[in-house]
Symmetry: C2
Subunit: 349 residues, 2 copies
């Protein structure tokens, strides 16, 4: 199961808006189509959009190289357009920065085709590393589990949200392989139902027992002692350990605290934003109201109703039990642990 694949010089995306009903590939030979796919959530999940944007830079550079336009102004504009697709997940900016850093090693006299080749190599490296990183995260995370645990997850931080394997679902996959998972409760995750459509589907494909619930049942299943741990992914983590993730994560974290259930976050180094101390400084994307008022073209709410539709929320570090990274498990005090992690930035695993 792969969310994206670089094949014959094109980026192939598994259309996540069509799942689980249809398994369709979107073939992107133009960076504009990649940007559109990110905006439309055809590819979603912080690590996956980072990798997709990296390949978007390759496609953009290739187009520039084949034209007689000026290469550098064009590449900067393409990078900017890709950066504008979604504001919250920092992996997007991390991946584009990394690509532009590679390009910048070439002087203004360089042959564009050489730069394109270097960019392609870097994007492939980002994608390959993501899989390795997720496997490390999964091993570190699975070690947190003892006997047979029932865990709850929100949204989809699985293979579909990454290049492969997943972060939070990677931990669950690994723990399942080690015989440590009894059952997974998947919040359906309104408005776009990533839990119902993607997480339930991914887990069923692997034969991991999953029970689908609506988001508003999370508190009740905790109260009924049906859940022993919560594990989620992240879109951006600050220096203090505040965690931006899919809307609803904050409510789940408060509920976990109320029931003395550990709340784990699984995310790679590329999800950390070391430039921000507080979660208050994370930009939160607001999306169109029709995501809430309609489903599949069918309207469920009255015409003209006002809607608030933030795509993410921020869980303060005080509600986080541990953050699972490819470098190990971070525990409070998070500022110290994350500052230490920052030293590893750019290093190899």
């Amino acid at each position: 199961l792969r969310s994206l694949e670089w094949r014959n010089g094109c980026l192939e995306l598994l259309d996540q808006t069509a799942l689980p009903g249809k398994t369709e590939q979107i073939v992107c030979d133009d960076y504009r189509r990649v940007a559109e796919a990110i905006r439309r959530l055809e590819v979603r999940g912080a690590p996956a959009i980072g990798a997709a944007a990296a390949f978007g830079v390759v496609l953009g550079a290739r187009e520039l190289a084949s034209e007689s336009k000026e290469f550098w102004p064009g590449l900067l504009a393409i990078a900017e357009e890709l950066r504008q697709t979604r504001p919250t997940a920092v992996n997007l900016f991390w991946a584009i920065d990394r690509m532009m850093s590679v390009a910048s090693r070439y002087g203004s006299e360089a042959v564009p085709a050489d730069i394109v080749a270097a960019l392609e190599e870097e994007a492939l490296a980002i994608a390959a590393e993501d899989k390795t990183v997720n496997q490390r995260i999964s091993e570190h995370g699975a070690a947190l589990f003892g006997g047979k645990a029932t865990v709850l997850t929100h949204c989809n931080a699985g293979a579909l949200a990454t290049v492969a394997f997943g972060t939070a679902l990677g931990v669950i996959r690994q723990a399942w392989a080690e015989g440590k998972i009894e059952r997974v409760f998947a919040d359906e995750t309104r408005p776009l139902l990533q839990g119902a459509r993607l997480t339930a589907w991914e887990l069923m494909q692997e034969g991991i027992p999953v029970t689908l619930i609506t988001d508003n049942m999370a508190g009740w299943v905790m109260k009924k002692k049906m859940v022993e741990a919560v594990i989620v992914g992240a879109d951006r983590i600050t220096l203090s350990g505040d965690v931006a993730n899919k809307i609803g994560t904050y409510s789940v974290a408060v509920l976990a605290k109320e029931h003395n259930i550990p709340f784990y976050v699984a995310a790679p180094l590329s999800t950390f934003d070391f430039s921000i101390a507080s979660g208050d400084d994370i930009p939160i994307e607001e999306r169109k109201s029709d995501e809430v008022t309609s489903l599949g073209g069918r309207r469920v709410a009255p015409e003209g109703v006002a809607v608030f539709n933030p795509a993410f929320d921020v869980t303060p570090s005080s509600l986080v039990t541990a953050i699972i990274t490819e470098y190990g498990v971070l525990k409070p005090p998070f500022t110290a642990a994350i500052t230490e992690l920052q030293q590893k930035k750019g290093g190899i695993i």
Copy 2:
């Protein structure tokens, strides 16, 4: 706006499964159709199903009176069938008990037509009282608000959930009329979207500003200080003040506590179950999985996925700030306040 009306010897129900897209009446001239409407949630909301069941008893008695069958065994069976429609809301049992109590005043030699007439009178009284009771609740509740408040509500405890006016939405209507409401946040209330379909619609019809959110946004709007009070209805309240209400209410109550936001419950005396001390003893209805796996009639989850679909949850009294009844506002300690309320049972307002 009325959820039900007794007209020409038939019970007319506003089909709440069709709202807000269509405004359709269901005309019931058979108690079986009333039972079906309750099961299907064509009529829903604790006070409304109580009143509907009362008219169901009238229709059943009328059928028995027109046949040569034995009246009393038939009436007991009809009452039992109506009791079986839904298990959680106690108003259903309260209304049927009240109807059967009226019937029981007639001896076995009585003329069935006389009993039918008495039952019709009693059902009309139940419906008429519900409106009065809700207006009293609304006045008591509105007095709790000071300046301009932004309130959050879950599910629909409006005119549609009662015979008229509503409980929680009745309080909001009254407070709005008194200039004390800034805006209402309506949780959409999965799986059946009573908040999106019914509450948003009711409030918009009255010109009360409403913002629709998905259930998992409730915590975030509280964190962002966008909500100053929560008010909900109830399906059953125990002697200790534990409150069964639509699934998701418990999560909202925990979130309200976390943010020091008052959590109000508005409900009539008929929603109290004085025979139960603890919320653990309230039967919680579980409904079919397709309510969760489909949205607006369209399937969203993989075929064959396991689902947990409790229709209600129980909020412990420790999370409840006050319970607004037609007799006034009850505050902790609730057992004492509710025991005192019990003395008024059967009395007039």
